[in-house]
Amino acid sequence: MLALTYDVGNIWLDSLLGVLALVALMTVSALMLIWLERKISARIQMRLGPMRVGPYGLLQTAADALKLIGKEDLRPKTANRWVFELAPFAVFVPTFAALVTIPFTRDWAIAFLDLGLFYVVAVTGLAFVGFLMAGWASDNKYALLGGMRAAAQLISYEVPMVVTLVAVAMVAGSLNLSEIVLFQNRIPLFVWQPLGFFIFIVAALAELERQPFDIPTAESEVVGGPFIEYSGIRWSMFFLASYTSLLIYSLLGSIVFLGGWEWPLGTEAGLWLQILLILVKTSLFIAFFMWVRFALVRLRIDQLMSYCWKVLIPLAFLQVFLNGLVLVYGWPDGFLLLTSGAGLALAMYIIYRAVDTEPRELRMVPARGGGSSAQAATVDATGSG
């Protein structure tokens, strides 16, 4: 991070240091995130999680990484060599490139791009190529299936994601991430656009391929999907990229919807406060994503698609439309909150109604004459007793 704060003076050296800092950040954060995820999953499942390597198992993932680096780099004999070996990079590089423009505080970023938001979306959208390459080149049916699923899912969910971010950019009047944060000032955007926030979270979950959208890598169906034939360092690159994406989307979410390094109590936060704020907000996202992963089951591919195209995209366009109305007619933001909130309620209602949530009653046939007459003859199957 040194490069970010001190101007070295030489543009090449500066960029190099920035990139190095990013690589370090990526690696460390990915290791930490993996550890965190294991811990959270353990606690949700009332386990302890990694405890042995380092205090509270903190170094467990580092040890794992070392092990992975040391592992033999296997390649199936019938795999398509070049595509197979290049696929991890095709996933890794876009993810890494997207991190370049994300500002961490008001003054810290490798590059402040005018088109920052657009850049992040465009570049992360390239990751599907890697999945498809990995799936195709592995010469494995599970991998191919997973690769196709991944590509279809990523492309589909990019649409609501982009449209929602467009809605944000509309009101912020800029695609520059820093300016979006500045625009939010005291009241973060998710207050005004709950619907957009919701769509962003769902789309991010899908882009990250986490439950309930982990269809491409579904363990119980396609056994890890495109990564099935990978091992060692290449596999860990996929893993690294996946957790870096988690970081990127969390950062993006906290910047775009939670107000980044700003907070409601004051606008001129100091550097350390800024870092703290963005860390906390990003952690909220990360914790939420991890929490969801262990609370929900996986959707089916057709359900995933229809949810995207029939629910999310129309709602995202609704959000854009509402923003347009507010902008053109200069209606108060409260209107946006109301309508967007109504849209969110609609989204939830759709989820509630689209599925057959009618509580099913089990027919209880009493055994031995009267049966357990103490209990009601029919037990509400969904009751939690």
Partner: protein, 171 residues
């Protein structure tokens, strides 16, 4: 040779390499991947031409969405990856004609006198201005384009639909 020129040559080389890969690769998926390379290189060219917005559009839509369709189609149609069926029989003639065409074009470019060529100075157009122009001056073409997209979407769905699916759904 300035740094910018060096970058240009690298990117141009990548673009040409990608293009050659598309037309020469013996494997369809390779061709698609080369196409992605070429498209990304063209995006780089756009950046050199100071149109970052266009470059990002190129990355997002061309490299990010169009090629996935092609890859899908390649995998779905499972066109025989046999190398001997990849190239048609008229390739020698085609090569001659194409080279002739290239020669003609390059000659034309070289012999013509282009405006704004003197100092190699280009103008960066703020994308706000681009948006203004797109939605005011070019509003009608823009709407037509959206209509075309819609029609293409509907058409593609109708065309690609399997009749069996219809039967299943109607049941």
């Amino acid at each position: 040779m300035t740094v910018a020129q060096l970058i240009f040559y690298v990117i141009a080389a990548l673009a040409v390499a990608g293009g050659l890969g598309v037309v020469l690769a013996r494997n369809t998926v390779y061709a698609a991947l080369f196409l992605i390379l070429a498209l990304l290189a063209v995006a780089g060219v756009y950046i050199l031409l100071a149109s970052e917005f266009l470059a990002l559009v190129q990355v997002l839509i061309y490299a990010g969405a169009v090629t996935v369709l092609m890859l899908f189609a390649l995998m779905l149609t499972r066109v025989g990856d046999l190398p001997e069926t990849m190239t048609g029989a008229q390739w020698p003639l085609a090569a001659v004609v194409s080279s002739l065409l290239m020669g003609l074009l390059v000659t034309t470019v070289a012999t013509s006198d282009w405006p704004g060529d003197a100092d190699g100075t280009i103008t960066r157009i703020p994308f706000e201005q681009l948006g203004e122009a797109l939605f005011r001056q070019w509003a009608v073409p823009f709407e037509i384009a959206s209509l075309v997209l819609l029609i293409a979407l509907v058409g593609a769905i109708v065309l690609a639909r399997d009749e069996d699916d219809d039967v299943e759904e109607s049941e």
